[in-house]
Symmetry: C2
Subunit: 246 residues, 2 copies
């Protein structure tokens, strides 16, 4: 049985202000919860109905479906829900390719970008403070465990770029150079902007090379590509040379 105060605490974690107050976030689904248990994240408590999870008993509480429904953020709860600690925001050490997000707002987009960075071996994502919180339950869900392997840091991104002036900044723009013709280095910042407005004016001045994914359709009415889709193509372009052994 869950106490009322436990339910209230967990439910409050849908809101950023309570996540920040308690420094806690939640993960749902057996696979996802197990990935976070196995990771560097600190476990607080794990609630399961009949799932088989490899975790020390001291964290484990068996609950019934009805209780799980009370604490779950999913329309169809997934047998396991874990509460974990939000780690301290460390300084990012920029070693290789790093994605910088300037005001990405949609949780699904951030989740997809985290998953992409995991796939393409990008260790750090540096987000402006107005980017959606990566511990938002929808982001955690969409990132499919990749959040255990990719560091997402919230910084004054202008300050980060200032401090790393020797690293080139490639910005995704509607009017830029054809990405397919560019020589892309192994160490770089890839700057992606907000869904509706793109990269903010303030940040545009930091771009050393604006990149565009050329459009092939006949009619030019087509909207710009979605930010997660554009990120996938850009990361693929940065990585493709390394993967062709010739």
């Amino acid at each position: 049985m869950l106490s009322k105060s436990q339910i209230k605490l967990i439910k409050s974690l849908s809101q950023k202000k309570f996540r920040n107050k308690h420094r806690l976030f939640i993960v749902e689904g057996i696979k996802g919860v197990q990935e976070f248990i196995n990771s560097d994240f600190e476990i607080v408590s794990i609630y399961v109905t009949d799932a088989n999870l490899k975790v020390s008993e001291k964290y484990l509480t068996i609950i019934d479906e009805k209780d799980l429904k009370k604490i779950s953020f999913l329309s169809t709860p997934q047998k396991a829900l874990g509460v974990f600690k939000i780690p301290e925001d460390k300084d990012a050490e920029i070693k290789t390719l790093t994605v910088v997000l300037d005001g990405v707002r949609d949780p699904g987009n951030l989740g997809t970008i985290i998953r992409l960075c995991d796939w393409f071996g990008v260790e750090n994502i540096i987000c402006s403070k107005d980017t959606v919180d990566c511990y938002n339950p929808k982001v955690v869900q969409a990132s499919m465990g990749s959040l255990t392997r990719v560091k997402v840091l919230y910084k004054d991104i202008r300050e980060v770029l200032e401090r790393n002036k020797e690293i080139p900044v490639f910005g995704a723009m509607l009017e830029g150079d054809n990405i397919y013709s560019e020589k892309l280095p192994e160490k770089a910042f890839i700057l992606m902007g907000n869904e509706a407005n793109g990269i903010s004016e303030e940040m545009q001045e930091y771009i050393s090379k604006p990149l565009t994914i050329p459009q092939f359709g006949k009619i030019k009415e087509t909207e710009s590509l979605n930010v997660a889709t554009a990120t996938s193509i850009i990361l693929s372009e940065f990585r493709r040379n390394a993967s062709i052994e010739r």
Copy 2:
């Protein structure tokens, strides 16, 4: 004022069986509705609150916010809702690059793929009959008007590939050849599979070349890429050569 039967009819269009019965679908939002008005789709009726749409008056009904809320599928209705006719499913003439979907189920994924095909100049998407319906309101919303420029056809995809045996079939697989090393032709089928199960066994035998997007992350636990994300990278690879003038 809307009659009860009008409201009932429009609301019923959230379900595929009623869309098929009436051969109607809906579009929401000023920009989207205007794009469909300007396209080859046949207009049935347009409902607006205070939007300024360029359309013959005979189709136009001005309604209040309360009525719009009754017929809208959005949590925040967008001032305009259009009802259009579903066109007859024609035979696909395979001229260039064609995307073939084998059981894609998520409306957001199909919407994103339609938008991507629009961007990359792919004229036809051929879907297996168990792929999500492109006139589903969520697909229409996610495709952002691209459905007016890209033809989405529902066919026995096995039969289509049989009939076009001279065109190579590139299938997205977890175990395939490195896409970055392949010479990709201008005329081809790109076969993409279901979110959870990939390309069905039945269809795998039609693949002339299995393609894989290499993974760069250290840990191999990473889930496969999302089908829409993988489609974006594959389409980009097919088009990149054409865009580099050297």
